[in-house]
């Protein structure tokens, strides 16, 4: 008999959820990494898993998940003794669904059920896909210091000054705080474990930041929210490059790595590994 746990996989469009799932499935199914969790059985849409894994193996970007194609995938995972096997259920939801929750202030009864029984959250963010709250007064002094030919051209006289507020263009950190707040209100867990996954970690690497430092620098509102809501929410930040590098510029090098699992890079608390199952192992600990 296995222990069954349900986890929410959360993130806005382009946050890296599907690439993670593809790499995760490969690592768990291939057995290339002895230390990782191993797949014993999968139920759900395996055609979808095959497709995204195939693209990942060929170093091709994944197809964006659309709302009409959302599926729940269940995996029976084997862990090291004495732990029993674990059935893990991931709804593979499109990022647009989470943006819809933020904009329309409702979610489906099906999703509500998933939230009600969730054991934890995997929340994805992509360093290149962040909307940040840039104030005019903060940018203007910088613009004034630029040479005249590098400043933005003045607006035409007849330009409509009123670009109305678009709720969908709100800062990423605000939407993610709201997402977690809403989950916390509905979830039945009194201590909700939340693994923050910073995708495409290879892009952040040159900044010499640990994942939690990156979060404090680029998503400070989210970081404060997580810190100040302990112990209701316990969090850990993982930097993960599920691709291992840029498929366009680095594809050939990645393809030449004998065991594709070895392309993956995972960084947490100053330690690097290839084991993409680490966030899940922390969630179930």
């Amino acid at each position: 008999m296995s222990d069954e746990r349900h986890f929410l996989v959360v993130g806005l469009p382009g946050a890296g959820k599907t690439t993670y799932l593809a790499a995760f499935w490969h690592v768990a199914e291939s057995g290339e990494l002895p230390e990782s969790m191993r797949l014993a059985q999968v139920t759900g849409d395996r055609e979808h898993l095959h497709e995204i894994r195939s693209l990942w193996l060929q170093c091709k970007p994944p197809v964006r998940t659309v709302t009409t194609a959302e599926k729940t995938i269940s995996m029976l995972l084997v862990r090291q003794s004495p732990h029993p096997p674990l059935t893990v259920c991931f709804p593979d939801m499109s990022g647009e669904s989470f943006r819809q929750h933020w904009c329309e202030r409702s979610w489906t009864a099906g999703y509500d059920k998933l939230v009600g029984r969730t054991s934890g959250v995997l929340l994805f963010v992509h360093p290149d896909n962040l909307t940040e709250p840039h104030r005019i007064d903060a940018v203007e002094p910088v613009m004034q210091e630029l040479p005249a030919d590098q400043r933005a051209a003045p607006a035409p006289v007849d330009k409509d000054p009123d670009l109305p507020w678009d709720v969908g263009e709100s800062p990423t950190q605000v939407i993610l705080v709201d997402t977690l707040q809403s989950i916390m209100e509905r979830a039945e867990q009194t201590n909700l474990r939340t693994a923050i996954v910073v995708s495409a970690w290879d892009l952040v690497d040159p900044e010499n930041l640990e994942p939690d430092q990156w979060l404090a620098r680029r998503l400070p509102l989210l970081q404060q929210f997580l810190e100040s809501n302990q112990p209701t929410v316990t969090h850990r930040v993982f930097g993960i490059s599920a691709q291992g590098g840029d498929f366009e510029t680095d594809g050939e090098r990645l393809l030449r790595i004998g065991e594709p699992s070895r392309r993956i890079r995972v960084r947490v608390d100053g330690v690097e590994s290839n084991d993409i199952t680490e966030p899940l192992r922390w969630l179930i600990a």
């Binding site: 599926k71 005019i136 109305p164 507020w165 404060q224 929210f225």
Partner: protein, 337 residues
């Protein structure tokens, strides 16, 4: 879930009926002779797609605040003052400061009004495509609505603080200044921990308008007091807003003398009618770089966070406290245990 993964199994103990794996080891459940798929009916699919509301993320109504008031020690803050005095800008600037990191030794802990804050911030952000930041004028409404903000002091072991802040249009305060009946409609004043009354720094910097600005503020506070909407449980703040315009005034010494005198007069006149009077000089969103963004807001927020006569207990005697300008002055002004 796909139809071929939902169903029951006739074998005893097989977990398939609860969504688990096939006991016989079949990867495709349909291949197992014991598996009986359940057809999802159209009704079940429709039920799964039914929309369930989550909290609106807009301003909170009085009804919305009731469960918050019951379950937390929420502090009610009323921003009062004429139109364009900077009430909304103070609230948005506080929110924007937390977007950049912890502020005034406090961490952002959440808000049920995120849409409301975001909408108010829009006209001061690059996304609005404006050349200069602005704040949308608060629309006239007779409903009292609140912005919700949860903050947690960074000191270890501290409890979270919940703030319910009003953002009322200046027109309501003009009416309240002139009419006891209108003043009494501002029922939130009676429950407010803090009432911050704004004097517009732009008007104070102008010789033609400064006296009228002071008298209007004095009349407004008098209206609150005479209508018994504020009393010895209320902590009153005199907020001199747009302080960057005062600093940029051509006769800056005269302006500052006038401001100091105004502070003294208001403190003397109302100090024994309310629980506490303090004064703050604020430039929530300066028009120039002479002062930093959010100048003075750390002191104001710290004051709101660390004091509440309503939450502290029974009515204290009237006590006057001018804005402490140093740690030593703050130490001297603390009540003796």
């Amino acid at each position: 879930m796909p139809e071929d993964t939902i169903g029951t199994c006739s074998l005893d103990g097989c977990p398939v009926g609860e969504g688990g794996a096939c006991q016989q080891g079949h990867e495709t459940l349909g291949e197992c002779p014991h598996f009986q798929p359940t057809e999802l009916t159209a009704l079940e699919e429709e039920e799964s797609e039914r929309r369930i509301p989550i909290h609106s993320a807009a301003e909170l109504s009085e009804t919305d605040t009731a469960p918050i008031m019951r379950s937390t020690l929420a502090r009610i803050l009323v921003m009062a003052g004429p139109a364009d005095s900077g009430k909304t800008t103070i609230l948005t600037s506080l929110y924007e400061l937390f977007q950049a990191g912890p502020f005034a030794e406090l961490q952002f802990g959440g808000s049920r009004s995120l849409h409301a804050f975001e909408r108010r911030c829009h006209m001061s952000r690059i996304a609005s495509e404006r050349d200069a930041p602005e704040t949308e004028r608060t629309k006239l409404s007779y409903d009292i609505e609140y912005l919700h903000l949860r903050l947690r002091p960074m000191a270890e072991g501290s409890r979270a603080l919940v703030f319910l802040m009003t953002d009322l249009p200046g027109e309501r305060f003009r009416l309240a200044r002139d009419s006891e009946e209108e003043c009494k409609k501002l029922s939130v004043l009676k429950r407010a921990d803090h009432v911050a009354v704004l004097l517009d720094g732009q008007k104070l910097a102008d010789l033609r308008t400064r006296t009228q600005a002071f008298q209007d503020t004095r009349a407004l506070i008098r209206s609150f007091v005479d209508a018994e909407m504020i009393d010895h449980r209320t902590m009153l703040q005199i907020v001199f807003s747009k302080w960057d315009l005062v600093e940029n005034a051509t006769e800056i010494d005269d302006v500052k003398k006038f401001v100091d005198s105004s502070e003294k007069k208001l403190t003397n006149e109302f100090g024994d009618r309310v629980g506490d009077v303090s004064a703050f000089r604020i430039a929530a969103r300066p028009e120039t770089t002479v002062l930093p963004f959010g100048f003075g807001l750390d002191g104001l927020l710290s004051h709101w966070a660390s004091h509440s006569l309503i939450l502290a207990g029974p009515r204290p005697s009237g006590r006057v406290t001018r804005q402490a300008r140093s740690e030593f002055e703050r130490f001297l002004s603390r009540p003796v245990a």
